[in-house]
């Protein structure tokens, strides 16, 4: 009885889904698999980016993180906050306590006037988190053509291949390529948006933030746009997971111990089973 009901149920689901298949196949045969879009044809995967924090032996390149922080502070922080990074965390980048205090003091955060109790803006202290420049999302949208600049704390973990993506985006602005115009005459970049081949829909609401070499002054030199982009991508890799280098460093002894223990367990197993060989033949 179960088997008869089972066969009927099986046929019901199988025929039901095959009906969907036939209808889908008919649509595909008559209309094709949908049209090619400019986004699909011209969106590019991120460029290769090599950082010292990559790979199983990765460690932070502290001078690079400092340069990246400088780029963030002078350029990106005009629009983006880092709400999960406190100024005190910058100790990881080997800034001294006094330097951290001085850096924090350059940012304004909401506070309360101790004398009047009124809401005011005060200079940040090391325990504050790196603030967004906008008081709220509405203000952020109003100032940016309705696109809200995202918080950057986790940006490199929140995108596929995130560090390379951030780097690519910063160096990826250009005019609309001629081939694209030829193939998709309807495609356009509306005012207030900027063509960027690494952005999924090709039109990005962020104006190119790094526009000229030496825009940020480095100690002893004027960096290229690519250099600044790489440095800030490295910095944002750190902000996304400040514990990453520690994680990789701890991983090796853990795996080493487990390997050792597993070999011992293997030898013990062999020893114990050797008394009743052969153990299996099928």
């Amino acid at each position: 009885m179960i088997r008869i009901i089972g066969i009927l149920a099986g046929l019901f689901f199988a025929l039901g889904v095959l009906w969907s298949f036939v209808t889908g196949a008919f649509t595909a045969a008559t209309e094709g698999f949908g049209e090619e879009t400019a986004e699909h044809a011209f969106h590019e995967h991120p460029l290769d980016l090599e950082l010292s924090s990559d790979g199983p032996l990765g460690t932070w390149d502290v001078p690079q993180l400092q340069r990246g922080f400088k780029v963030y502070q002078e350029v990106c922080s005009a629009c983006h906050g880092l709400q999960y990074v406190a100024f005190r965390d910058l100790a990881d980048l080997e800034y001294t306590e006094a330097e951290i205090k001085a850096i924090a003091a350059q940012f304004q955060v909401p506070g309360i006037d101790p004398d009047t109790g009124e809401s005011v803006l005060r200079a940040a202290t090391p325990t504050d988190y790196i603030p967004s420049p906008y008081p709220n999302a509405v203000a952020a949208a109003a100032a940016n053509n309705n696109a809200i600049p995202p918080d950057l704390s986790l940006i490199t973990k929140a995108r596929h291949d995130g560090s390379a993506y951030v780097y690519s985006l910063l160096v990826g602005y250009s005019a609309i390529p001629e081939e694209l115009k030829a193939e998709f005459p309807d495609f356009s970049t509306p005012p207030g948006l900027y063509y960027n081949r690494y952005f999924p829909n090709l039109n990005l609401a962020m104006a190119p933030p790094l526009t000229s070499d030496g825009q940020v002054t480095y100690e002893g030199g004027s960096p290229t746009i690519a250099q600044m982009s790489e440095d800030v991508a490295a910095f944002l890799t750190w902000t996304a997971e400040p514990t990453m280098a520690e994680r990789k460093a701890v991983g090796w002894p853990v795996l080493g111990f487990l390997l050792f223990a597993t070999i011992l367990a293997w030898l013990a197993k062999k020893q114990i089973w050797s008394s009743i060989k052969p153990s299996r033949k099928d």
Partner: protein, 431 residues
């Protein structure tokens, strides 16, 4: 469990004698997973995964309890407390990555455990109850994992919760009120997050309870084995301890090596980047996908794109998705072949390796892919095969197939002939 030749427990020390008369816990352990439990001597490594599943469950409970000490199930701060765990809590990143990847590898282990059962037909008499309880555990695991994934309150947490709870909306008449009641609102929000946290904390203990029943039921007939021939005599078995404790110890080492490689070096490989974006009800992700271990079932859900008479496609998908697991409950009665092991079932074996396994892989791949062609069409063919396999092919094979000759006993399968001394004079089992 109670084979006449099982070694008997004898308390030796004062303490164990004292305990044995008052609370015979050492005796219980000795008979359950000690030298007092005879087990087939020919189990292969596929029989390691039950113990590994038990270990994975305990790992989830331990890491989960620590995480719960630092997490707050409130939609305003859930995402931030998760980041607080990653950044500020001592070893918090390790706990969180171990819990997230631990869940994934719990499912890896369970899938291997289930497919072992399917290949060796472990679900057949007298082990139906073990199997049925196993399917219950699997359903509980899916519910637990689903609710756990909502807790960090990222974009995939939110939209996954919205899509899956939305499935209840497909039920005729009561669907919509039911969905609102389950969520405590029209969309996932604080009420849903709170109850998901409460249930996510509770359910592992429910699972642990069902696991106890699962193992209790297992100890009545004892484990099956790769030949599927039942135990005939003492020479077919070895005591669980030290033989299988040693083998399970080695298996545990391999499991931990793999898991820890992911925890320390690839912790986000199995996750989705969108879950590092805080939940935002106003912004729908381009592709909403569940965690990888749900992909085969998600593919079945999405395979139904056409209504059939008065049944809407969405409802069909929901029914099919639940049915795809519920059919497992009926396997012991669908597969009537007297032979258990796939090794001796030529036709069954062919459909298993060339039908079921590729189908599962296709469903898995399509479930993770966007709902576009050709993935939808592929998953439709695979879904059809999936149901035909369990509900039509398996019952038919089991009536028409001519099984290959079985060995007389496990001992014969291992040694070539039976009635030879096994645990001979020079080889006494260590206890």
């Amino acid at each position: 469990m109670s084979f006449p030749w099982a070694q008997a427990y004898e308390p030796k020390t004062g303490l164990t004698k004292f305990l044995d008369e008052r609370l015979p816990l050492p005796r219980f352990v000795y008979n359950a997973v000690g030298a007092g439990y005879p087990v087939p001597r020919n189990l292969n490594y596929m029989w390691n995964f039950g113990v590994l599943a038990g270990f994975a469950l305990m790992l989830q409970i331990v890491t989960g309890i620590v995480l719960a000490m630092h997490y707050a199930p409130n939609a305003l701060v859930a995402f931030a407390t998760t980041e607080h765990i990653m950044r500020d809590v001592n070893w918090g990143w390790m706990m969180r990555y171990a819990h997230a990847n631990g869940a994934s590898f719990f499912f890896v282990v369970i899938y291997l455990h289930i497919f072992r059962g399917l290949f060796y037909s472990s679900y057949k008499a007298p082990r139906e109850m073990i199997w049925l309880l196993g399917v219950v555990i699997f359903l509980l695991m899916m519910a637990t994992a689903f609710m756990g994934y909502v807790l960090p309150w990222g974009q995939m947490s939110f939209w996954g919760a919205k899509v899956i709870t939305g499935l209840f909306g497909a039920i005729p008449l009561v669907g919509e009120p039911l969905q609102i009641w389950l969520l405590g609102g029209f969309a996932p929000d604080n009420a849903a997050l709170n109850r998901f946290f409460s249930l996510h904390f509770l359910m592992p203990f429910v699972i642990a309870g069902v696991v106890i029943l699962h193992i209790w039921a297992l100890h009545i007939p004892g484990s099956s084995n790769p030949t599927g021939v039942e135990i005939k005599g003492e020479s077919d078995t070895v005591p669980f301890h030290p033989y299988y404790t040693a083998k399970d110890g080695f298996g545990l080492g391999i499991f931990l090596l793999v898991l820890m490689t992911f925890v320390f070096f690839l912790p986000n490989f199995l996750g989705h980047p969108d879950n590092y974006i805080e939940a935002n009800p106003l912004s729908t992700p381009a592709h909403i996908v569940p965690e990888w271990y749900f992909w085969p079932f998600y593919a079945i859900l999405r395979a139904f794109t056409q209504d059939i008479f008065f049944i809407p496609a969405k409802l069909l998908g929901v029914l099919a998705m639940f049915a795809s697991i519920l059919v497992w409950f009926f396997l012991p009665w669908l597969d009537k072949s007297p032979v258990r092991s796939g090794h001796y079932r030529p036709l069954f074996r062919k459909f298993f390796w060339f039908g079921l396994i590729p189908t599962m892989l296709v469903l898995f791949y399509c479930g993770g892919a966007p709902a576009e062609e050709p993935f939808v069409m592929l998953s439709q063919i695979a879904t059809a095969y999936y149901f035909l396999h369990f509900l039509v092919i398996l019952p038919i094979i089991s009536s028409i197939e001519k099984p290959q000759p079985l060995p007389y006993s496990i001992t014969e399968a291992v040694l070539g002939s039976d009635k030879k001394p096994v645990l001979g004079e020079n080889a006494s089992p260590a206890v």
